[in-house]
């Protein structure tokens, strides 16, 4: 039962990374890619109907984590107190800047929210990578099972780490680069004319950065957390994750010059999910590894809810997720196709 729920939560988070990943990515590159007012409106319109639903995957994954692994929810959330609060504030800023921008007909108002949108999206992308880096590296769990991480200490992933150290920052930059690539590919898929062209150019550059950072990231992970390598060596089948990730990156490059941008975008989805699931595989059966000598790793078995709760949960979760997939299919199908450059005289 434990492994079922571990992979359920991992899959929900992967879905979150793929879906909210592209609208975060669009946000992070928005100021540079979309230059004129119609282009900015066009860029926002590509994500307008879907960004909120994408973000719900985070909320739903959080709720699922809460009831399936209450102990993890309590310890990790209170331990990552400050960065989580910062993430919440960034989510607030990003949400209001997407929606409120168009509600008030003043160019200054629009410029301001453009800046906020780009800033908050970029930082969120970095924080996602930092968060994953922290979970992979481990936290200083105390004798009572709790911990509290400061934002930074000496920037070294040793026994007394902070949220930010060279390893997690590297993770953050990799996430920013990968999501920028993802967002650029989404815009290349959904936008037209100038915006589409610039998105393709940007994707080419972001691709190089992502390849370079991924290449650095693998040995860095082994250096920061040697247990990852041994976990992989125990189950050599897991090497399929980095292999898929690498081949997806190659596919992104090969298909980028085609007319249809769908294969590139899907390959980018494949890259993100195999990276994320690969990290999850490296962790399992640990949920939160301990660094230092005081406490021990928090494992799936320790954190798991009672069996009856989980059995009931499996029933409604399956039903609910089928419905959710259905809603998303309907919405993405209805909003399929390119988003034209808006005609300024017409309001939607």
């Amino acid at each position: 039962m434990g492994s079922v729920w571990f992979w359920i939560v991992a899959l929900m988070l992967t879905t979150y990374v793929i879906l909210d990943g592209f609208d975060l990515g669009v946000g992070a590159i928005y100021l540079w890619i979309a230059r004129t007012e119609p282009e900015r409106a066009q860029a926002l319109r590509t994500i307008g109907p879907v960004w909120d639903g994408n973000e719900v995957w985070l909320v739903a994954a959080g709720g699922t984590l809460f009831f399936a692994f209450p102990l993890l929810y309590a310890r990790a959330f209170s331990g990552f107190y400050l960065p989580l609060m910062i993430v919440l504030w960034l989510l607030i800023l990003r949400g209001i800047s997407i929606e409120l921008r168009s509600h008030f007909p003043d160019p200054i108002w629009g410029r301001f929210f453009d800046g906020v949108f780009c800033f908050a999206s970029g930082l969120l992308a970095i924080f996602l990578g930092v968060a994953l880096g922290n979970v992979v590296r481990g936290v200083p769990i105390g004798p009572d099972g709790y911990f509290f991480l400061p934002l930074w200490t000496n920037l070294i992933p040793g026994p007394n780490p902070g949220i930010l150290d060279w390893y997690t920052v590297l993770g953050g930059i990799l996430a920013l680069s990968a999501l920028a690539l993802h967002g650029a590919l989404y815009l290349a898929l959904k936008a037209e004319e100038g915006l589409e062209q610039r998105a393709i150019q940007f994707a080419n550059r972001a691709w190089v950065a992502t390849v370079a950072l991924t290449t650095i990231g693998v040995p860095a992970t082994i250096l920061a957390k040697p247990a990852t390598l041994s976990s992989y060596l125990r189950h050599p089948v897991a090497f399929v994750f980095p292999l898929i990730a690498a081949s997806c990156l190659v596919v992104v490059r090969l298909t980028l010059s085609r007319d249809s941008k769908l294969p590139s975008f899907l390959a980018s989805c494949g890259y993100l999910s195999s990276m994320f699931l690969g990290a999850a595989f490296g962790l399992y059966p640990v949920l939160l590894p301990a660094v230092g000598s005081q406490g021990s790793d928090l494992t799936v078995e320790q954190a798991l809810s009672a069996p009856h709760t989980l059995h009931v949960g499996l029933v409604w979760w399956s039903a609910g997720c089928c419905l959710a997939v259905m809603y998303f299919s309907i919405v993405y199908w209805l909003f399929r196709g390119k988003v034209p450059v808006p005609d300024e005289n017409k309001e939607d």
Binding site: G48, P49, V50, D52, G53, E55, V56, L58, V59, A60, G62, G63, T64, F66, F67, A68, P70, Y73, A74, R75, A76, F77, S78, Y81, L82, L84, M85, W89, L91, I92, G95, I96, E99, L100, H103, F104, G142, D144, Y146, F148, S305, A306, H308, T309, V312, G313, W316, W317, G320, L323, A324, Y327, I330, V331, L334, F335, N345, K346, E347, D348
Partner: protein, 453 residues
């Protein structure tokens, strides 16, 4: 201030602020659905267009409020873990369930179809657009239900058992969902949401009529707002408020004694209408009392004995007693005002004189903030009344907070939320004001443009 106090203030502040938005959007979702239904059902083209423009106007206001509800709502879920770690650790196996169900069954529905409802009017047929409005309504009302199931478990725990080590486990998911407390609280709360939205809609209608502009829309808003307001205000008191009060008296007698300021057990207890509870002398200062009313309201007879606070050990008294007393009285007092105002407005509407009765339009306009205050006061009554328990009778609030988050970190984030939410309030005021000022005719003009283009 210690960590516990700051955790409590932060949760109270963020949840109160958050709930300003859903209470409007849940009510508005219903009213917009009514407008869309009327637009579909009306054969007369001009009237049908009036309803459609009205729906579009309110959908824009809905979107602003829904957004603020979403962005202030995400911190609520996170804070269970960040600030209330011990509570989450112990009860997460139970309350995590309705919270997860809420995300999966309602937030997906709501967010997916809100995008369709707001952006898809041209892509969808009128019937499908109506359907998307219906699904947004359904999603938001389901969401309200599951969050109330969560709260009801904290107020009146059912369907659980406690394992070794104090962890809670769900024994019956069915009992958890069928918790009578949840259904009473849900009914009372959803009525309140419709009251908030009806007052908001009638106030905008009254404003337009007072300004002598947007006449047809002003009359539509006022008519729909007043009728929905009359129905919801009545249901708010009877049966939902009445039943909820009786159930509360049965299961949280200490809370009801504190709400009513009843320090001493009495036969034929009277009800204090106004007064200030004096914690030291255990009396009410400046009381205005209706004799025997409390006994009658709770037990249906004027002679029944009502347990006062002296019946309970002091460590089980709700901790901020005067605040509880005032919250409850503000809620009940405003509820009475709402009922009276809406009854008068309904009467005038029926006689055909409402639209020109400026002396009634003024109080309708000025009353729009009051349902927010009443709802907040009602929730404060419920939540302060539950104290000193975080799960009534089982876990004390002081046992629930995060042990390793220091008071200074709590204060840091509390100040952050205060600052962030001040900005949101300013934005809300600017946007709602400018939107109401420009009015539905802008929506109308855009429709004409898009038809001719």
């Amino acid at each position: 201030m210690n960590s516990l106090t700051l955790d409590r203030i932060q949760f109270a502040f963020t949840i109160t602020y958050h709930y300003l938005f859903p209470q409007l959007t849940m009510g508005l979702a219903l009213l917009i659905l009514i407008l869309k239904t009327l637009a579909l059902r009306t054969c007369d083209l001009e009237t049908s267009r009036n309803y459609d423009d009205s729906a579009r106007f309110w959908a824009r206001l809905f979107a602003i409020n829904f957004l603020l509800g979403v962005v202030t709502g995400v911190p609520m879920e996170f804070q269970f873990g960040t600030n209330w770690a011990e509570f989450s650790r112990r009860t997460g196996g139970v309350i995590g369930m309705p919270i997860a169900v809420e995300g999966i069954f309602s937030f997906f529905l709501e967010s997916a179809f809100l995008g369709l409802f707001l952006f898809g009017e041209k892509r969808l047929s009128q019937r499908l657009h109506w359907l998307s409005a219906f699904l947004v309504f359904l999603g938001s009302w389901i969401s309200g239900f599951f969050i109330i199931v969560t709260n009801a478990f904290m107020q009146h725990p059912v369907g659980y058992r406690i394992l070794n080590g104090g962890l809670f486990e769900v024994v019956s998911f069915r009992d958890l969902l069928l918790n009578p407390w949840a259904w009473l609280e849900y009914a009372h709360n959803m009525c309140a949401a419709v009251v908030t939205a009806s007052f908001f809609m009638s106030a905008v209608g009254a404003l337009y009529l007072l300004q002598r502009r947007q006449g047809p829309y002003g009359r539509t808003f006022l008519r729909i707002g007043v009728i929905a307001g009359m129905i919801s205000c009545t249901a708010q008191v009877f049966p939902t408020g009445d039943l909820h009060g009786k159930y509360l008296a049965k299961h949280q007698p200490a809370a009801i004694a504190a709400m009513e300021g009843l320090f001493h057990t009495e036969k034929g207890a009277g009800m204090v209408i106004v007064g200030q509870p004096n914690y030291d002398s255990e009396t009410i200062d400046n009381p205005l009392v209706v004799n025997k009313l409390l006994s009658f309201l709770i037990y249906g007879t004027t002679s029944a004995e009502v347990e006062g606070l002296d019946h309970f050990p002091k460590d089980q008294w709700p901790s901020t007693l005067p605040l509880l007393f005032y919250s409850y009285h503000i809620m009940a007092g405003l509820g009475t005002w709402f009922g009276g105002l809406m009854a008068l407005a309904t009467f005038l509407l029926w006689r055909g004189r409402l639209y020109s009765s400026r002396w009634v339009l003024w109080p309708i306009l000025l009353s729009w903030p009051l349902p927010y205050i009443a709802t907040t006061a009602g929730w404060m009554t419920a939540e302060i009344g539950r104290q000193p328990w975080i799960v009534y009778g089982l876990v004390r609030t002081a046992q629930g907070y995060s042990p390793h988050v220091s008071a200074s970190n709590d204060l840091f984030t509390l100040l952050g939320f205060l600052g962030m939410y001040s900005v949101l309030s300013l934005l809300w005021i600017i946007l709602v004001y400018s939107h109401v000022q420009s009015g539905p005719l802008v929506a109308y003009r855009n429709r004409v443009l898009s038809v001719t283009a």
